[in-house]
């Protein structure tokens, strides 16, 4: 029962954050903050799903780093003074809405067939230790490849951002 209440609470916050992000036409900073709200609600949902470690990492990485980067860019470039005018033509909007609803319905019909009961898990499920054991034995290759991706990201960002700096 408690779980159901908590689920609805976090679900509503998450969706509200997402909608808030879309509807803030003027203020990009407010959009970013709405997204933070969604991220935090999702982290709580992760904890509800016993993925405690991933939940706390979600806060650290998304709320603590990625959105901070967004805010930096918004502040650095001073987007607030840029006027974007009307946000796309109405026809496109309607088409987009129809497409989105179609995607949503399709996804929902697929997942609606899920009737499997929740698996029984022990106390250790989702703890840092169990996570580490999986990541550093079965998933060593993706982990090492992640470092290549990260170095590519750093080099790319520096090259792009420093261009014409001097």
């Amino acid at each position: 029962m408690t779980e159901l209440v908590l689920f609805w609470l976090f679900a509503v916050v998450a969706v509200a954050g997402g909608i808030g992000m879309l509807l803030n036409l003027r203020n990009t900073v407010a959009s970013a903050l709405c997204l933070v709200l969604t991220m935090l609600a999702l982290a709580c949902l992760f904890v509800l799903l016993l993925a405690q470690f991933v939940g706390v990492i979600q806060v650290m990485v998304y709320a603590g780093a990625i959105i901070v980067l967004f805010l930096f860019v918004i502040m650095l470039l001073n987007m607030e003074r840029d006027t974007l005018g009307a946000e796309t033509y109405p026809v496109v909007k309607v088409l987009a809405a129809i497409f989105t609803v179609a995607v949503g319905i399709k996804l929902a019909t697929v997942v609606a067939t899920l009737r499997t009961p929740w698996a029984e898990v022990d106390e250790a499920f989702g703890t840092t230790r169990e996570f580490g054991q999986a990541l550093f034995t079965d998933y060593v290759l993706p982990f090492e490849l992640a470092s290549i991706l990260l170095i590519a990201g750093i080099v790319g960002a520096i090259v792009l951002a420093k261009q014409r700096l001097e």
Binding site: V47, F53, I57, M60, V61, G64, A65, I66, V68, L69, F72, V73, M75, L76, L77, N78, E80, R81, T128, R129, F131, G132, Q133, L135, F136, T137, V140, F143, E144, A146, S147, I148, L150, I151, G153, I154, V155, A157, I158, A161, K162, L165
Partner: protein, 117 residues
């Protein structure tokens, strides 16, 4: 899940206290407002330039480095916890990872992304 009850209670206490202080201050404080008082503080001068200007891209580079190293740290936590079980194998794999990212740091260093003068 009993630990989360404590956590929730603590979070509730903290936010209620802060919110209470904020509202109390807004209710209790005097309200004498005139346009000079509400000007942004500029040591008594009028504000000549808007604070909303473009800033150095240095700040962006620091933030990018931060994000990528944050990811690295996030990988280090589970690794540290299972380090004893992994033994030499774990040491070598994380050694490779750290070396690659240290190379990224050196690259940023050489490119001057860390210079503030």
């Amino acid at each position: 899940m009993s630990e989360y009850v404590g956590l929730g209670l603590f979070a509730l206490l903290g936010s209620v206290v802060v919110a209470g202080m904020l509202t109390a201050a807004i209710v209790l404080g005097p309200k004498l407002r005139f346009s000079e008082k509400l000007e942004p503080f500029e040591c008594g001068e009028r504000q000549l330039v808007s604070p909303y200007q473009r800033f150095s891209v240095k700040f962006y580079l620091v933030a990018v480095l931060f994000i990528l190293f944050d990811i690295e740290v996030v990988f280090l936590y589970p690794w540290a916890v299972v380090f004893r079980d992994l033994g030499w194998f774990g040491f070598v794999e994380m050694g490779l990872f750290i070396v690659v990212l240290a190379a990224a740091l050196v690259y940023a260093w050489m490119k001057g992304a860390l210079d503030w003068s």
